[in-house]
């Protein structure tokens, strides 16, 4: 027992959480006592004796769990523990519950954890649709309803879509560029362990007096600055999710820039790598803004800083500018990695090189640049300076151009190919093109100020975001999970069940989200627990499709769990793909490669006799004719 407490792990983590939590609690009590204040401040935005421990306890858990051990020893001048790789790789399922520095283990930890939040968030969506099936109040009252849709969105955005992409890329990206691991393995592990803490803070807010945060995932001030305690948990959860996101993005950037195998020039990187490079550029520059603005709200709530208190000279609209300066790039953070996945899947299953590879990469960079100049299109009716609307409209519409390039290039990739649709990943990739086109079209309409004035804050918006986030991002996530499932687990999944999941999801998505456009244009506002009778029939239909969509996700869950345990063993390269992760065993060896591969060509050289992407260990050193010296030529 004593040994268990001394060693980094769950016991020490638990003790750390309790100790640090108690320290924070005591500190508040003592300081307030000294200042002659009532030790417990329970005005609705206050509760310092809960808010401060909500910061310190998670940090205590991380410290106890072992996330900082190496760095702290080094910083304190103590002898560091020589790395014997005992924290690397997974020999049994138990290793997935430990502080592990192996990018493959971390990748699996990410994907499994985020899918748990996906199912929790989905359950909330089911409750929301149950309430909305009929006008009037049936299942939950209005304030609980507000908490439900707020938490649903926050779980899906901050602890599902954004990090699940980080998880998939964590697993495959180092393999793809021929690296033995990520650049900073310990930072990588820390990034992962901050994520469940964010999720727990979000969900834990349901236990707060006054209920979970209920100001929407956008948390507009001054509704949020005056909201009950749960809002502070949102402010803090975003810090942990954001720090996790930023650290991972830095890790990806350094890994991609410095750890590519010899010969892996920028123009030979698979598009998934390009996509994560672009995403990481967005994350490192944009995410600090949401972290900052949530601190400002927290300080307004707890310390009366009055950033957004209009009565004290604060500026209400500035919240929205700072928030959207992150949250618009965030929609690309939630989409670009998916673009990368679709490129891999379509090229592989169409047996064709990506059409216009360089333009595809440049389009990603174009989106990164443009996405910083469009944020105020979320604010066309917000009462900001009116002239700002026109330039923001033009940039918003222009962003459809690089996005269109991607759609047309995927379509071009299909031509003169040999299209195989046996794999569920390809079905999701093809369906993604269709649903995302619809989401893009409604996006262009929303970018046009006069149309936006009418449909802003209606169900048209709800329809649009779900078409791009569910029909877009989540479809790409499913494509990616099915595509790399054999690599990650060493097992094959059941394609028949995959097909059931695919068709159910496709029909469910369209049935649920298409009619939302119509009721929105016809006058139904968003974020309402109750609505006018005239929308009753459509909403009943929407709810019916939503329940179907929810139920069919259980098929996916069953398929993943059972196939992971009992599925037939996967060979190294079941899809006959070219990129490097498929040239090693499934799952890959503990240090990925016996010998770092040598990259000698592009990643999508299908149909070219003798063309090779990489030469793996033991394959001999013959370099295809015409190949120039490659080492160190990365541009």
């Amino acid at each position: 027992m004593v040994d268990a407490i001394k060693r980094p792990g769950w016991w020490r983590g638990l003790i750390g959480a309790i100790a640090f939590g108690a320290f924070g609690f005591g500190l508040v009590l003592i300081l307030r006592k000294i200042s002659g204040l009532d030790p417990y401040q329970t005005e609705q935005t206050g509760y310092p004796h809960i808010v401060v421990p909500a910061v310190t306890a998670p940090l205590g858990f991380l410290a106890g769990f072992g996330c900082f051990d190496y760095w702290l020893r080094w910083a304190a001048g103590l002898p560091t523990i020589p790395d014997d790789h005992s924290q690397h790789g997974a020999k049994s399922w138990k290793d997935y519950f430990k502080f592990n520095t192996d990018h493959k283990v971390i990748g699996v930890q990410y994907v499994v954890t985020t899918f748990i939040f996906f199912f929790l968030g989905g359950l909330m969506a089911m409750l929301i649709r149950a309430e909305l099936a009929q006008p009037g109040t049936q299942i939950v009252e209005a304030s609980t309803y507000n908490s439900l849709f707020s938490t649903h969105a926050v779980l899906m955005i901050f602890v599902f879509v954004i990090p699940v992409f980080a998880g998939l890329a964590n697993y495959v990206l180092p393999l793809m560029i021929g690296a033995p691991d990520m650049a900073f393995p310990r930072l990588n592990a820390l990034s992962f362990w901050m994520l469940p803490l964010a999720g727990i803070l979000f969900i834990g807010s349901f236990l707060c007096p006054g209920g979970a945060f209920d100001a929407g995932w956008t948390g507009y001030a001054p509704l949020s600055t005056g909201a009950p305690l749960g809002q502070s948990f949102f402010n803090l959860g975003v810090q942990f999710a954001g720090a996790s996101s930023i650290a991972t993005a830095l890790n990806f950037l350094v890994t991609i820039i410095t750890m590519r195998a010899p010969g892996m020039t920028f123009w030979r990187m698979p598009l998934l790598v390009w996509a994560n490079l672009s995403t990481s550029l967005l994350v490192v520059a944009a995410t600090p803004f949401i972290a900052g603005v949530q601190f400002m709200v927290l300080f307004d709530r707890a310390l009366h800083t009055n950033f957004f208190d209009f009565a004290a000279g604060g500026d209400v609209i500035s919240y929205q500018h700072i928030f959207w300066f992150y949250s618009h790039p965030a929609v690309y953070i939630m989409m670009l990695p998916g673009f990368g996945i679709i490129s891999e899947v379509i090229s592989t299953h169409a047996r064709k090189p990506i059409f216009g590879y360089r333009l595809m990469a440049l389009a990603l960079i174009g989106i990164v640049v443009l996405s910083y100049s469009v944020w105020a299109h979320h604010m066309f009716v917000a009462g900001m300076f009116s002239w700002l609307r026109v330039p923001m409209m033009i940039t918003t519409l222009l962003i459809a151009v690089p996005t269109g390039i991607k759609i047309f290039s995927w379509l071009g990739t299909l031509y003169f190919g040999k299209i195989h649709t046996y794999s569920t990943s390809m079905l999701f990739a093809l369906a993604f093109i269709v649903t995302f086109t619809i989401g893009g079209i409604s996006g262009v309409m929303l970018g046009m100020v006069p149309i936006d004035i009418h449909v802003s804050d209606t169900y048209f918006i709800v329809a649009h975001i779900h078409f791009v986030l569910f029909g877009g991002s989540v479809f790409t996530i499913f494509a990616g999970v099915y595509h790399w499932f054999p690599k990650m687990t060493g097992r094959m999944y059941d394609e028949k069940l995959g097909r059931v999941h695919f068709w159910g999801t496709l029909v469910g998505t369209w049935g649920t989200f298409v009619p939302m456009h119509w009721v929105g244009m016809d006058g139904m506002p968003r974020r309402v627990a109750d609505y006018a009778e005239q929308f009753g029939e459509w909403n009943l239909l929407i709810s019916a499709f939503a329940f179907m969509l929810g139920a069919v996700q259980l098929v996916f869950l069953y398929n993943m769990v059972v196939s992971w345990r009992f599925g037939p063993k996967a060979e190294a390269n079941p899809w006959r793909a070219n990129s490097i992760e498929w040239q090693v065993s499934s799952p890959p060896p503990i240090f990925n490669f016996d010998e770092i591969p040598r990259v000698v060509g592009g990643p999508y050289e299908f149909g070219i006799p003798g063309a090779k992407h990489a030469i793996m260990a033991g394959e001999g050193a013959e370099v295809p004719a015409g190949e120039k010296s490659v080492v160190g030529s990365s541009s």
Binding site: N146, P222, Y357, L397, F408, D522, P525, V528
Partner: protein, 263 residues
Amino acid sequence: MYGRLPIVKMLLVTIALTVVISAVMVPINWNGQGASTAAPKIDHLLNVMIVLSAFVFSLVMVMLFYALWKFKAKPGDESDGEPIHGNTRLEIAWTLIPTIIVLFAGGYSWKVLDDIEESNPKHLTVSVFSQQYAWSFAYPGKDYVWSEGELHVPVGRQVQFKMHALDVIHSFWVPEWRIKKDNVPGITTTAIVTPDEEGTYQLVCTELCGFGHATMRAKVVVESKSKFEKWVEGLDRTLPEPLMEVLKEESVTNPPALGAGGA
């Protein structure tokens, strides 16, 4: 060298599909009844977008399904496709043509926006006050007469709403007018509407403002000039002092923004 694509036929199918989708979608009155001069302009813009979008959607569908039909691998075929890496002319085309389309959409939107927000010097000004979870309205005159929960405006005259939120952000939306604007604490925002059809409508709050958000509504009556003037005369309450202060303070501290229509 890889065989030719039936480009003319594909284009014809795309156009046919565009015509069919447009013929179905354009006649539908998506935004519901219109009751302001802005409504037909916005609805027309929407219809133009529907036709353009139908074309883009049809093009993607035709390209996708032709490829799936023509280039689907035969069972057991393990060979690769043709090693085509791209086509510069095509890539330039699908960069330039969408750019032209969206710039057209942007220019047209700009024109409509200027149109619907053009200020008429003979407008009527109505002050709007929103708070959790109620609307109230003040009409200029001596001391401002005040109406709670019911807004009356005359038909055929431009109304400029000067809006004030007293606690959190609310948003002013009458779907039939197609006009929406947030009411923001601390500043005065403006919405410009010219109602052109008499009737009774509903004012809907569209910015989440708390647990009563879904039921924060007010009655809107558009009526003839004489009926409207009679109704205003019949209002027997004047604007309460605290609201009067909001009115005075904000009009001093927040001069109108650049451009038509104010902030």
